[in-house]
């Protein structure tokens, strides 16, 4: 048991610096990763889908920043400084842009509430559950005919 504990302690001491190093090292961005989150300034499409001259210059700019060791967020910030906020494919998670994320959630919630309300209303209206007006009974003529038929079929 002591041996196992000693072995674990040695392993932990060896692994700890490399794990810490991995956490401290900045996450190096890649071109495809950035291309999926920014727009071509002239095409109205994701940069990754465009091969216009303007898009190629934007790629050169991104590659240069990657070579300088900048991470994805720093590159996106630099692109915003160059082209303005429209260059971002996804709205920012602050200010009025938050509504871009909030509206679908609110809409989904309202939709869900609507469906729930409709289901409840529909269940209440089902005959036999006490909801809605009772069905009218058979008329006198129909009752007589029913009696005759039941007698005829020996029911």
């Amino acid at each position: 048991m002591r041996r196992l504990a000693l072995l674990l302690a040695v392993f932990a001491s060896l692994a700890a610096p490399s794990l810490a190093g991995a956490q401290d090292a900045p996450v190096r961005a890649s071109l495809p990763e950035v291309e999926d989150e920014v727009m071509c300034p002239v095409c109205g499409t994701l940069l990754g889908l465009s091969h216009s001259p303007a898009a190629e210059r934007e790629r050169v700019f991104i590659r240069r920043l990657i070579a300088q060791g900048k991470d994805k967020e720093q590159i996106k910030d630099a692109l915003v400084a160059e082209y303005g906020g429209q260059v971002l494919a996804l709205p920012e998670n602050r200010g009025i842009d938050v509504w871009a994320y909030a509206v679908p959630v609110i809409g989904f919630g309202l939709g869900l509430a609507g469906v729930a309300w409709a289901v409840i209303a529909w269940r209440r209206r089902r005959p036999g559950d006490g909801g809605g007006p009772p069905a009218p009974g058979p008329s006198g003529e129909e009752s007589d005919r029913l009696e005759r038929d039941m007698a005829r079929f020996d029911l």
């Binding site: 300034p41 002239v42 216009s52 001259p53 303007a54 190629e56 210059r57 934007e58 700019f61 160059e82 082209y83 303005g84 906020g85 429209q86």
Partner: protein, 179 residues
């Protein structure tokens, strides 16, 4: 819910949707700025950076406003003729460059390469060119009178200096009509 009310809501919703569609089509079909109308101005950073400028700064002058970008090949082809025109006519007309949807480093390199001396504004997002000037691409040029009204519009590159002079004839007092 009353059946009539429900029908009315559906009819109003469908009418609103159709209205939006028609409005979108009409807006799309509209041309850009109209001749004789005021050309919108917007405060933009100067290029090289360090200040702010606007078309308004040139009120009282004839202005040939040229929208360009360094990545645009026709803009590169047009630039030498535009430079020569500007140097020969700067006492009669101001050439104002609007660099749009461009990287600042690339734009500065363009200005150095073509030894452009006339004033430049940087429309980095393209908001001015797209929304205010309603350009359809680059290059595009606008001839603006001293009152700030549009006199002529030239989509595409000028073939040569003579084409620029014909376009800017009202400002040059040559008596020719702008195209």
């Amino acid at each position: 819910m009353d059946v009539n009310l429900r029908t009315a809501i559906v009819v109003v919703a469908v009418a609103a949707l159709l209205g939006f569609l028609v409005w979108g089509l009409v807006k799309k079909g509209e041309s850009g700025l109209a001749v004789g109308e005021p050309v919108p101005a917007m405060a933009l950073p100067t290029l090289p950076e360090g200040g702010e400028g606007s078309l308004e700064d040139h009120r009282g002058e004839w202005v040939l406003m040229n929208v360009w970008a360094s990545w645009c090949v026709p803009c590169r082809e047009e630039s030498p003729a535009l430079d020569r025109f500007e140097k020969r006519n700067r006492d009669r007309i101001t050439v104002l460059g609007i660099d749009t949807k461009d990287l600042s480093g690339d734009a500065l390199e363009f200005l150095r390469e073509f030894e452009v001396e006339y004033p430049q504004l940087r429309d980095a997002s393209g908001d001015y060119a797209d929304a205010e000037l309603e350009t359809t691409g680059v290059p595009e040029s606008f001839l603006i009178d001293p009152d700030g009204n549009l006199v002529a519009h030239y989509p595409g590159p000028f073939k040569d200096e003579a084409a620029i002079e014909r376009f800017a004839a009202p400002a040059l007092g040559d008596g020719d009509e702008a195209s």
